[in-house]
Structures are given as C-alpha cells and as structure tokens.
C-alpha cells in the first residue's frame, strides 16, 4: 500500500469513528427516555415503546439501514446515505441502552427516594440530583459495552455505499489488486479503536468507584 492508500484507509477509519460517536452520544440519552417511558406505565405509549424495543433489538442493522435508506424517501423524507447510517445506528443502540437504563432504574433502592421525599425534595430534583447520578454510575459498564458492540456492528452501513473502515478496503483493493493488506490493516485499526474504548471504560469505572465511595 502506498501513501494514497494509507490516507484512504485513515479517512475510512475517521468515517467509522465519527458516525459511531454521534450514534453513541445520542443513543445514551435517547435510551434513557425510551427506557423510562417504557416503565412509566403510561397507557398505550409504554406498550408501544416495549414493542419498539423488542423489534429494534431483533432487527439486523443491515436490514434496518436498507429499510431507512430505500424506504424513507418514498414516504416523503429525503435522506442521504450518511444520515441514514447515523439514524440506523442511533435507533438501534437506543433500544439496547433503553434496557440497560430500565434495569438500573428498577434496581434503584426505593429507601433513598423515600428519604429524599421526607426531607421535602420535589420529584424532578430527586430524579436529577439523587437518582440520575447513581443510575449513571450503575449503567456505565453496560452502556460502554453496548458502545463497543455498536462500533463492531457499524460496518453494516457499508451496504448503502458509505465508505467506512470496512468498505474502504474494497476501494483500496480495486486500485492495488491486493485485498489482503488493506483488510488486515483495517482489522488492526478496529482492534485499536475497541481496545481504546475498553481502556476508557476501565478508567471511567475506576473514577466512578472513587466518586461513589
């Protein structure tokens, strides 16, 4: 591989990183809203959310990205490939995050809420200042784990022509007629990205443990 091909590879890696990053950053709060909405016991809405989460978790990303990219323009929403890719990853990761937030919420010790009510705290303040910080610490390992799963599932968006770190290997081998080196190089870059995320997870968990001690 020459300099140009290395540059192509890095730009593919950058595409994978920034698309995944947007989906991860957006998917955490969206998952919180979906997860809380599901357990809120609001008639119809809670059931619809449960159905959405169940179907979302069962849908392969390749199928979903095709549905959004080919299907949305027909219902009057014009969407380019990159937006469809981001939206796919976001909608998918949010359903998994919703389940993580839900389980953390349901195992939150009720005594703390009662104690906060006893000292006169309002509902919103209890959630923001008592529950959310502790729920975030408890949800951290699950959310980070889901984030690495998202990066590993992100090559699905290559099917609609986004030149990510996987798809770029096709482009490079079309120039060099040697598919093996770019595929191996892309694999190594993926490993570096995932290893970095796992390390970040350990650092964050250590900090969170110090904070809650």
């Amino acid at each position: 591989m020459t300099g140009t091909e290395l540059q192509m590879l890095l730009s593919g890696a950058w595409t994978t990183v920034w698309i995944s990053a947007i989906a991860i950053v957006g998917g955490v709060p969206l998952g919180l809203v979906l997860g809380l909405g599901r357990v809120a016991g609001i008639p119809v809405l809670s059931q619809l959310l449960a159905l959405y989460i169940s179907i979302g978790r069962a849908t392969p990303l390749v199928t979903l990205v095709l549905l959004l990219f080919v299907g949305l323009p027909v219902v009057g929403i014009n969407i380019d490939a990159v937006t469809a890719g981001v939206l796919t990853l976001l909608l998918n990761t949010a359903t998994f995050n919703a389940e993580i937030w839900r389980s953390v919420y349901q195992s939150f010790p009720r005594g703390q809420i009662e104690a906060a009510q006893a000292v006169g705290m309002q509902k919103g303040a209890i959630f923001r200042r008592i529950m959310l910080p502790q729920m975030s610490v408890a949800a951290l390992p699950g959310l980070m784990n889901e984030a690495t799963l998202l990066v590993k599932a992100s090559p699905a968006i290559a099917v609609i022509g986004i030149v990510d770190l996987t798809r770029v290997t096709d482009r490079i081998s079309a120039r060099t007629y040697e598919p093996l080196p770019p595929i191996i190089a892309a694999g190594i870059i993926y490993m570096i990205i995932i290893a970095g995320m796992v390390r970040l997870q350990r650092v964050l968990e250590k900090r969170a443990a110090k904070w809650s001690a």
Partner: protein, 234 residues
C-alpha cells in the same frame, strides 16, 4: 412526513403487497438459508467454544495464552471485517471458498470466541471443591468436563448464551454483503426488482423478530429448568 401517503398509497397498497405475496417463495428460500446458517453456526460455535474454553483452562501456559489471544482478538473485531478476510482476503493466499462456506466458517470461528468467553465466566463461578470431588469419584479428562462441568456452564449461563444466539442470528444478515442469499438478500432483491421499497424489509424484520421471540422463549424454558436444578442466577 406525509402520513396520507404512507397509509393510503404505500403500506396498504394492495398491488405492492401482492408483489410481496407473489415473491413469497423467494422470501422463504432466504429465510430458510438464514435459519440454516444460524443453526449450523450455533452448533459449530458451541462445540468449538467448548474446546477453546478448555484451552483457556489448560495447565500449559502457552496453550492458555493461545486461547486468550484467539478469544480477545475475535472480540475486538467486527464480524464483517472477519468475513471479508475469509472471503476476499484469503484467495490471495490461494485459499478459495464460496461465499456460503466463508460465511458459515466465519460465523462459527467468530462466535466460538464469544461462547468460550461466556463459558469461562460461568466456569469461574463454579466451586473448585466440586471438580476435586468429581476427581475423587473417578471422573477425569473429557468425561469430567462433559458430564460434570459443561452442563452446569450451559444451564448457569443460559440467559447470556441466549443473547449471544440473538447476535448470531442478526450477524447472518451481514453475509448478504458478501453475496450470501439470506433473508435480507431476498428482501433487497424483491425491493430492487419491483421497486417496492418498504414492504420487503418490513416482512424480513417481522421474520427476524419472530425468530428472536422463539429463541427468547426457549432460553426462558431452559432458565426455568436450570433454576429448578438450583443452577443459574434467578
């Protein structure tokens, strides 16, 4: 979003659903390919995973390290790039496989690492005294693993193994990118042949969903059985 357009002319357009209905055999071929890939790779990944977890528990440190490197390496790779390696990369080394063989082999080799890691986690929860007791009763080698250890690992980690099964089912869809004719491939070809963009994928997602519910139901039954035997986390 134009709701009238969605409800009147697209989702409930009888002509478009008729196309889907006429192409039903194509969907069923794709679905049965997806289920075949899934079933074979579940069995293969489970058997290979059980071998790898033994490597990771070996007394020989270099065997142990090899098992670790394999498992950690796979767990840091996306499935699709591994499938690319087998299908597009290996021919450079003179190893040529059909898309189907490469895809199936990829699913087995990749998910065996995840299965091995799940089994290892469950194994570390087993009391060491139990294995010692089994040895004292004359169990050893493969018999000790297959009759005493493995059943407990499977029952004890049923929910996590069940999640892995769902990932395996969903990973089969990646294989359409390397031209395997699975369910998503079938939906996409109906879409591009007749330009009915929504219905084929809705049908495909429905079939994936039903399969996932079936897997979850099965895992629930296994989990209940496990709890009856005093295994697994409630």
């Amino acid at each position: 979003m134009d709701w009238d357009l969605i409800t009147n002319s697209i989702l409930f357009n009888p002509a478009e659903w008729e196309i889907v209905l006429n192409e039903w055999p194509r969907f069923m071929r794709g679905f049965s390919n997806t289920l075949t890939l899934f079933a074979v790779s579940v069995v293969g990944a489970f058997l290979l995973g059980a071998v790898i977890v033994n490597l990771m528990a070996s007394r020989n440190p270099s065997v142990r390290a090899a098992g670790r490197v394999y498992v950690d390496g796979m767990r840091m790779l996306p499935f699709l790039i591994f499938a690319y390696l087998l299908y597009y990369g290996l021919p450079s080394l003179g190893i040529r496989m059909s898309a189907w063989t490469a895809g199936l082999l990829g699913l087995i080799l990749y998910h065996a690492a995840y299965v091995a890691e799940i089994l290892r986690g469950a194994w570390s929860q087993l009391p060491a005294g139990q294995t010692e007791a089994a040895r004292a009763m004359g169990f050893h080698g493969p018999q000790l693993f297959l009759r005493i250890v493995l059943p407990q690992l499977v029952l004890g980690s049923a929910p996590i193994l069940g999640n892995q099964l769902i990932y395996m089912l969903k990973d089969t869809a990646f294989l359409m990118i390397i031209t395997v004719q699975d369910l998503t491939y079938a939906a996409n070809s109906v879409q591009s042949m007749y330009f009915v963009p929504l219905q084929p994928f809705i049908v495909a997602i429905g079939l994936y969903w039903i399969s996932t519910l079936a897997i979850e139901g099965l895992v629930f039954l296994v989990g209940r059985f496990a709890r009856k035997r005093g295994l697994g986390r409630a």
